[in-house]
């Protein structure tokens, strides 16, 4: 920050500690709610606090939240989905509730920081060789599973091998396809040998599904993690208590209950009524309700959670470039962010990369604007007068985005029909099959993996069937590019290719929105999933 414009705090004016509990709450709420510094300062100015005091309040308010954690308390968390398919077996994790249980019970080799860098978890160090084709992992010593068995390299080899081979049903099998072999070097050292060099390997080792289980087990709820599992009923709840033997600081709570309330209105009501302390996936309709309620905060983390409409490039009407352009120009992006996402989101530019990806985001790429005339021109040129878009509520607000597009299409004489289908069966029967469908992806830790997964030529989940050779070359080349300027140029070229050529319509990115009780401290803000990418069990404590 520029020192010249930062007024010095004058002693004698009220500081953070002088505020009433209510005002403290206000400050903290503002800081945690994702308000910009500017907003908060403005807010304080209204209440008659000098700028210097406000700045100081903000700083100390931030510090107050970093107060010393203390042990004790119980948290009940309500996720959005659960059912008889709830899993304790990491390779089959597919939902927030699975990820959360996984994080409470197990550990991965590495974990993600809030800024998407990585740090060691069960691995103390993760070191590549010169060309990043062979990685050496030194494992933490003295770690024990909940049943007292010591953690060794064998557990790592066993767990990681479950993502590989013909018999693997791991959901990240294709993501980890570049790994050729895991080799045991010593009792606490392993080597990971890759087919192709990959400088981003550590981020992959921190995925939700890469949790380390005990050698020979298939997810029986015994791990090295901060909480032991006391009981588990699929589709009902699981109850956990602190692992007193946890190998590092953390695991502050006495226990937690992980459950789900599938009705979005009931989930918010339960949070406000104080029956649960955390609720995931808050519908934009309920933002105001949470923000105006006492004792709860809306936790909104900017993320590249795409609100996506896939237009298949290998079939009519998407094979016609003008049709795709029409669909892209009819998106009223500003209004989507403002009215549908209620400000908790960012405008998208028809690429999967957002500013949340940091320096890899191509801000030079001109923003595609809402332009009904252009859309009309492109639709007319394409020769199509109508199209049918399949919609399932795969994320909050996506149906509303399609309704807005439909209303805007109607105004220019294009008939965009919506076909609403249930979410169950959607991924198998509609997505990547129907010519127009909706999609969302959890944000991936790197821009490269985000683009590779959806836009790599021939990639398993290339959901618009847009195969571009140049794209494939760049995806490969960027992995070994170390010069930041050249790397950014390559990133930009890829985003331009997608922006210009693919069938992807991404009018906006949603923040990750969760509600938590005000007395929950230490929330991580990793933007890769709900509630700090489900990393919270290790870190949170109750004030």
């Amino acid at each position: 920050m520029n020192d010249k414009v930062t007024p010095k705090f004058k002693p004698g004016e009220p500081g953070y500690s002088d505020l009433s509990a209510y005002d403290k709450g206000l400050v903290e709420k503002a800081v945690r709610g994702g308000h910009s510094r500017r907003d908060v300062l403005k807010l304080m100015a209204v209440t008659g606090v000098s700028l210097a005091t406000a700045q100081n309040l903000l700083a100390t308010g931030g510090r107050a939240m970093a107060m010393t954690p203390k042990k004790g308390g119980f948290i009940r968390m309500a996720s959005n989905l659960h059912g008889p398919d709830d899993q304790l077996d990491p390779p089959l994790f597919t939902s927030t509730i699975d990820y959360t249980r996984g994080r409470a019970i197990y550990n991965s080799l590495v974990q993600h920081n809030d800024d998407l860098t990585t740090r060691g978890d069960l691995a103390e160090t993760v070191e590549p060789n010169a060309d990043a084709s062979e990685w050496t992992l030194k494992l933490r010593k003295g770690v024990e599973f909940h049943d007292g068995t010591p953690f060794t390299a064998d557990d790592v080899i066993y767990s990681m091998n479950r993502h590989m081979g013909d018999d693997s049903t791991s959901v990240i099998k294709s993501v980890l396809a570049s790994i050729q072999e895991w080799k045991k070097v010593g009792s606490h050292e392993v080597k990971c040998i890759l087919n192709t060099p990959n400088a981003d390997l550590p981020t992959l080792l921190g995925l939700f599904q890469t949790k380390i289980v005990k050698n020979g087990t298939t997810g029986d709820g015994i791990g090295t993690g901060p909480y032991k599992m006391d009981s588990f009923e699929p589709g009902v709840k699981s109850v956990h208590s602190r692992n007193e033997n946890y190998f590092r600081e953390g695991a502050w709570l006495d226990g937690m209950e992980i459950t789900a309330i599938t009705d979005p209105v009931a989930r918010v009501n339960a949070l406000i009524a104080g029956d649960v302390q955390m609720s995931t996936v808050i519908d934009p309709k309920a933002f105001r309700q949470i923000e105006s309620a006492d004792g709860v905060t809306l936790l909104s983390t900017p993320a590249a959670l795409q609100v996506g409409i896939c237009v298949l490039k290998n079939a009519a009407p998407g094979e016609n470039d003008d049709f795709v352009k029409g669909m892209q120009h009819i998106q009223d992006r500003e209004r989507i962010v403002k009215r549908i996402l209620k400000g908790k989101g960012t405008v998208g530019n028809d690429t999967p990369i957002s500013s949340a990806h940091g320096p890899d985001f191509c801000h030079e790429l001109p923003q595609r604007e809402f332009d009904p005339d252009k859309a009309k021109h492109h639709f007319e040129k394409s020769g199509f007068k109508t199209a049918e878009l399949y919609v399932a509520p795969v994320m909050a607000g996506i149906e509303d985005v399609c309704l807005l597009a439909q209303a805007n299409c109607a105004k220019i004489g294009f008939d965009l029909k919506l076909k609403k289908v249930p979410t169950d069966g959607y991924w198998g029967a509609v997505w990547m099959r129907e010519p127009l469908n909706v999609v969302t992806w959890n944000m991936r830790p790197t821009a490269q993996s985000q683009m590779a997964i959806q836009f790599g030529p021939g990639a398993a989940w290339n959901d618009t069937y847009w195969n571009n050779e140049r794209m494939g070359e760049l995806l490969q080349a960027v992995l070994s590019q170390t010069d930041p300027v050249k790397r950014h140029d390559m990133m930009c070229e890829m985003q331009t290719l997608i922006h210009e050529g693919s069938g992807m319509v991404i009018p906006a990115f949603s923040n990750i929105n969760d509600g938590i009780a005000d007395n929950i401290m230490g929330m991580p803000k990793v933007p890769l999933g709900q509630l700090g990418a489900c990393e919270w069990p290790e870190f949170v404590w109750l004030a």
Binding site: P84, D85, D86, T94, I172, K173, P234, V236, D275, G428
Partner: protein, 316 residues
């Protein structure tokens, strides 16, 4: 006579359960996607799908799987959930109890209320009292359940903080805690089912009131209250028991909305989850329970109406 009827009913019950299992089998097999696709979701690849299908035995023809299930069922084996791998008996056990407890408590409260209000309204037809009951029951019948439930949560839990907003049950709760937890779903369901039972009780009694022997009693000058309690009620009890039985069946199988809003782990939601994950053995197990409940309740209703009406004991 009674024995014969009961035997015939058991036979019909078994036939109905068989038909239900066939219908469920046919319906679930026309659903798009299978359990492997649902479990792997967005992350499915053709390769992992093939492996998982083989692991779950989905590579066999559907009818083979059906007959294997039928064979297991005949020996009392409910099988394991295809989606999560848990034993279905374990998945169902706790929820079965929850469902029965909720249905039982609701019945315990709503049946006396309904019969009382229904009788009361029938005793004073056309009065403001009757009209109030009629209007009240019609109002609650005609508003969607989720509206009533959400309104209750907003008033009683969010604003007044009298009751918890969800029915999250824990082990070793005290009786008072348990009842507080159950209060919201119970109140909502009592409102929903009582309305229909009150209406049918009133209609049933007014119907009997127009039969010749009641007219005779009226002509003889028997007071109206006594006519209803002594004569009409026992003759109307058949249809009333039938309505109660159908409502109880609904409380066991049809309360998915209440279970969802109050996060109450019961069977109705489990069956919907089973359908949504294409978990055929789980759906079948739930269907068998629901069908069994229905058959038993209807049997009890029939026996009830025969016992209460001597004429039915000796048919022409």
């Amino acid at each position: 006579m009674m024995m014969q009827m009961a035997l015939r009913r058991v036979w019909i019950g078994i036939a109905t359960m068989f038909v239900v299992s066939v219908i469920v089998f046919i319906m679930t097999s026309i659903l798009p996607g299978d359990v492997a696709q649902i479990v792997l979701g967005q992350s499915a690849t053709p390769e992992t799908l093939a492996v998982l299908r083989r692991e779950l035995g989905l590579d066999q023809p559907a009818y083979v799987r059906y007959f294997m299930w039928l064979g297991d069922m005949a020996t009392g084996d409910l099988g394991t959930s295809k989606a999560g791998g848990a034993a279905i008996a374990d998945l169902i056990g706790g929820r079965f109890m929850n469902t029965m407890v909720l249905a039982g408590l609701v019945a315990l409260i709503s049946i006396p209320i309904s019969i009382f209000l229904g009788l009361w309204a029938a005793m004073h037809p056309g009065t403001w009292l009757d009209r109030t009951v009629t209007f009240g029951t019609l109002s609650t019948i005609s508003v969607p359940e989720f509206f009533i439930a959400t309104l209750m949560v907003l008033i009683l839990a969010v604003n007044l903080h009298w009751l918890p907003s969800t029915a999250m049950l824990r082990d070793n709760m005290t009786f008072l805690e348990f009842m507080r937890g159950m209060a919201m779903p119970i109140i909502t369901l009592v409102i929903v089912v009582s309305a229909q039972m009150i209406r049918m009780t009133r209609a049933g009694i007014l119907n009997v009131m127009s039969s010749p022997y009641i007219e005779m009693a009226i002509l003889k000058g028997v007071p109206r209250g006594r006519i209803i309690l002594r004569h009409a009620f026992f003759n109307a009890i058949g249809p009333i028991i039938n309505v109660i039985a159908l409502n109880l069946a609904y409380l066991v199988s049809g309360v998915v909305i209440v279970e969802t809003i109050f996060a109450y782990p019961g069977l109705a939601k489990l069956m919907i989850d089973g359908v949504q994950t294409r978990d055929l053995p789980l759906v079948q197990a739930c269907a068998m329970i629901f069908c069994g409940t229905y058959v038993i309740l209807i049997l009890i209703a029939d026996i009830g109406s025969i016992v209460s009406n001597p004429r039915l004991r000796h048919p022409k």
